[in-house]
């Protein structure tokens, strides 16, 4: 706790200092090109572009938030008189990181900053313009298409996983790709130290923990590589409840990828009563338990299982 308190104080000091810096930087900002050319001058020739953006947050005609120069900041003044000699560089063909930086000037939220820090799209050479279209667009978020259609147009192999008998209902329109994948990026790893579990518990909050008795396989900040995806396939699976492997006799494949307990599975001492029953018949709280170090069903104590012998606690 003292460590966290110290970190808290450092954190707050950093925030105050950084905002002071940002404020000074904002006040000292100048944009000489913007003073030279206004949106009004642009719209004399590019009227159709203004109409296409009317009603969107980039409504340049309104000049409330942005004008043309906010994005096309590298227009040279000579463009007004000699547009062919001084063409406007296209943002769509701009280098990925350059365009990301340009967009992040205003869109300083985690999603755009992930593109600067680490994002598979950015590493693959895809910029903001690969998914978003600023001009002539009525889709939510200025996406180029409806979100699921857009994502699956490139990531088409996931159509197979979403067709599986158990799947997140993306094709049904109940869950969208961004519900998980915007949140899974670096910025949202604030609650847990890392990993996809932070995203999963956004909806499945009951599994977030901490539990008095944790299952290490489910704990994101475990040194034993915990996380929801050890057992669950996030897009779709042939097994129920998005499980990666069967949870059934004879091998209980899901559990036996990590566990093998001598004289436990296939134990003749249990006789036919326990032969072939699923692991979670006894280890009921596989996500974490309020009761038992071994995640066992408290009801077993009534049967005397914990009183003596192998299961004595």
């Amino acid at each position: 706790m003292p460590t966290v308190r110290l970190l808290s104080q450092i954190f707050i000091a950093c925030v105050v200092g950084c905002f002071a810096f940002v404020s000074v930087a904002a006040l000292s900002n100048d944009n000489t090109v913007a003073e030279t050319i206004s949106s009004t001058a642009c719209l004399d020739c590019h009227e159709s572009e203004a109409n296409a953006m009317a009603g969107t947050p980039h409504d340049v005609a309104s000049k409330r938030v942005v004008d043309c120069l906010s994005c096309h900041s590298d227009v040279r003044p000579g463009h007004l008189d000699e547009p062919e000699e001084f063409p406007v560089p296209s943002l769509a063909t701009m280098r990925t990181d350059s365009l990301t930086n340009r967009c992040a000037t205003c869109h300083a939220h985690p999603h755009s900053l992930n593109m600067v820090e680490r994002d598979p799209h950015e590493v693959a050479g895809l910029s903001c313009a690969a998914c978003h279209r600023v001009h002539d667009n009525r889709h939510l978020g200025l996406l180029q298409d409806e979100q699921t259609t857009l994502c699956l147009s490139c990531h088409s192999s996931y159509k197979g996983e979403f067709a599986m008998p158990s799947h997140h209902p993306v094709m049904e329109g109940i869950v969208s790709c961004a519900d998980c994948h915007i949140a899974v990026a670096q910025s949202s790893k604030q609650r847990a130290a890392s990993g996809a579990g932070t995203v999963c518990t956004t909806c499945h909050a009951v599994f977030e923990g901490p539990f008095p008795f944790e299952h290490q396989a489910a704990v994101e900040y475990s040194t034993d590589e915990g996380g929801c995806l050890n057992c669950h396939a996030p897009h779709g699976s042939v097994q129920p409840r998005l499980l990666k492997q069967p949870y059934e006799a004879p091998a209980f494949a899901l559990c036996s990828q990590c566990h093998v307990v001598p004289k436990h599975q296939f134990n003749a001492n249990h006789g036919s009563m326990w032969a072939g029953v699923p692991c979670n018949q006894c280890h009921v709280d596989v996500h974490g338990s309020y009761e038992s170090r071994h995640l066992l069903d408290p009801g077993l104590s009534v049967q005397g299982c914990f009183a003596m012998g192998c299961h004595q606690l």
């Binding site: 904002a26 930086n101 159509k159 049904e172």
Partner: protein, 526 residues
């Protein structure tokens, strides 16, 4: 849903009061019904969980522009059925934006469909921009789960019990400041509260303070720093347990020349967990170098990571490389990437000990003659836990083709689009005991066609075949037909056939025939 409509009404009234001659309304309404006939195990086909038989107000869409700066949009679907959903947007450009979304769905737990749980999601956000330098935003989300459930496998009682009755509240407030030269920062606060009316032990609180600062260097586009940090706590009030999290992250990007870029990241976190009385520290140092030549991009990176708690220390080495050629939309473009991540359990005390991950994937996309688009992807991944004798591997290959057709005839335009995707996947698990192997073939295809701006038709097929340790076939066949009458009226119908057959498990089959039919009216005052 009632809250969504109430919010829409409250915001629409002042907006309409400011309406003038520039006000434009457009929208559409569709109403009709759904017929559903199903046999077999309802749990096998999730696609039909949220199709409810009956008459329906299928769609209500309204878009208003009251002056050049004020906009309102309402989009409701199936509002009289139990799969109702809707979105609402209100925006005064550059000043205020409000958005809300509501969604209702259910999950079936038994073959007869008698045991089910419903989920209702409401999400809303408001952002205010008093000047271009500062931006305030706030979100509220509510997720309600109600109903009954059955544990898996059947007969097992889990921590969730046999029913749901919970509400998950999520609040977030954020302030952003920014300047024209790219300097910016964000401070946010998020709180989460889970109420469980059936088991108070599940109730939990969480809150996080976070900040991000972005500082481009003196030479714009050449040097950028991003620093972010957060502190948070999550706790179970009933159990008097919790954990504290603190994170700090730095990213520096340097691009001395247009063709070369370097990137360094540091990530550090500390989790203090009262349930295990354990403190876990994590440190990551990560670097990448990218080189560009025309439309080719080569990237090479290395990362070192350590996890350290009071019990054990594990370290990771992460190597990665990728090569991309061409851009999306070029005649040919492709990309190949490869990465490994190896864990070293320094004291050999974790259950899994050392592990090795490796993956590679490649894809190629191209524009072929006659307007044909085609592409293919291959991906392979393995995870080896040699010390405990377990290994998992997966191989996926997929291919697609798409074709757009347009022809102007005497009666007008005939256009169409065909897309076919094929996916092959092979997942193989060698466990400590036994093994599990599944191979799947999936075909997803859709043909859309429009005739003379009046008739639209579509046919879609999804076929899935699963083999090896299981033997399942699943398919969906869909036919759609629509006709646009004069003056904005229209009629449309859709017929879907669902099939599921498990050839190894008795009585695990499903067939459903579903028909949607609607009449519609579209209008615009423009």
């Amino acid at each position: 849903m009632r809250r969504l409509i109430l919010l829409a009404s409250v915001l629409a009234l002042p907006a309409t009061a400011t309406a003038d001659s520039t006000t434009v309304w457009d929208g559409r309404v569709r109403m009709g019904g759904i017929l559903k006939d199903e046999n077999g195990d309802r749990t096998t086909t999730q696609e039909t969980f949220n199709i409810h038989e009956g008459y329906s107000l299928s769609s209500l869409y309204l878009n208003g522009r009251f002056n050049p700066l004020t906009h309102l949009r309402l989009d409701l679907t199936d509002i009289n059925l139990d799969d109702r959903r809707g979105t609402f947007d209100f925006r005064k450009t550059g000043i205020l934006a409000a958005r809300a979304r509501y969604d209702e769905s259910r999950y079936l737990f038994d073959p007869a469909g008698a045991v089910s749980a419903s989920r209702k999601d409401l999400w809303s956000t408001v952002s205010v921009t008093p000047s271009r330098w500062i931006w305030f935003s706030g979100d509220y989300g509510l997720q309600k789960r109600e109903g009954d459930r059955i544990g898996f496998p059947e007969g097992v009682q889990s921590i969730l019990g046999s029913a749901y009755d919970s509400q998950l509240h999520r609040y977030r407030a954020e302030v952003q400041a920014r300047s024209n030269n790219g300097v910016g920062g964000t401070v946010s606060y998020e709180q989460v509260r889970l109420n469980d009316d059936l088991d108070p032990r599940n109730e939990r609180d969480g809150h996080v303070y976070a900040a991000i600062v972005r500082v481009p260097g003196l030479v714009y586009d050449r040097l950028t720093h991003v620093v972010r940090g957060s502190i948070g706590r999550s706790e179970l009030p009933e159990m008097e347990l919790g954990y504290d999290v603190a994170t700090i992250q730095y990213t520096g990007v340097i691009a001395p020349w247009r063709s070369i870029r370097g990137k360094y990241r540091f990530y550090g976190s500390r989790v203090e967990d009262e349930s295990t009385d354990n403190r876990t520290d994590r440190y990551v140092h990560d670097g990448d170098i990218e080189a560009r030549y025309r439309d080719a991009l080569l990237s090479v990176g290395y990362g070192w990571e350590a996890w350290d708690d009071d019990r054990s220390v594990t370290t990771y080495d992460n190597l990665r490389a990728s090569l991309g050629v061409g851009r999306s939309g070029d005649a040919v473009s492709g990309r190949f990437s490869w990465s490994t991540r190896n864990k070293d359990d320094e004291e050999d005390v974790t259950l899994l000990r050392d592990t090795e991950y490796a993956r590679w994937d490649g894809r190629v996309d191209g524009r072929l003659p006659f307007g044909l688009l085609a592409g293919a992807r291959v991906a392979d991944r393995t995870r080896k836990m040699s010390d405990i004798g377990a290994e998992a591997s997966g191989f996926t290959t997929s291919a697609y083709g798409a074709y757009d057709y347009e022809h102007f005839g005497d009666a007008g335009l005939i256009s169409g689009r065909l897309r076919v995707d094929y996916i092959y996947a092979d997942d193989d698990f060698d466990n400590r005991i036994g093994a599990y192997h599944v191979i799947s073939h999936t075909v997803v295809s859709r043909l859309d066609a429009d005739f003379h701006e009046k008739i639209s038709a579509a046919v879609a097929v999804t076929y899935l075949s699963l083999g090896e340790d299981i033997d399942i076939d699943k398919s969906l066949l869909s036919f759609e037909l629509g006709y646009r009458f004069p003056k904005g009226f229209s009629a449309d119908a859709r017929y879907n056939v669902y099939n599921y057959d498990d050839y190894l498990v008795t009585d695990r089959f499903y067939t459903a025939n579903v028909v949607w039919f609607n009449v519609g009216y579209a209008f615009s005052t423009e």
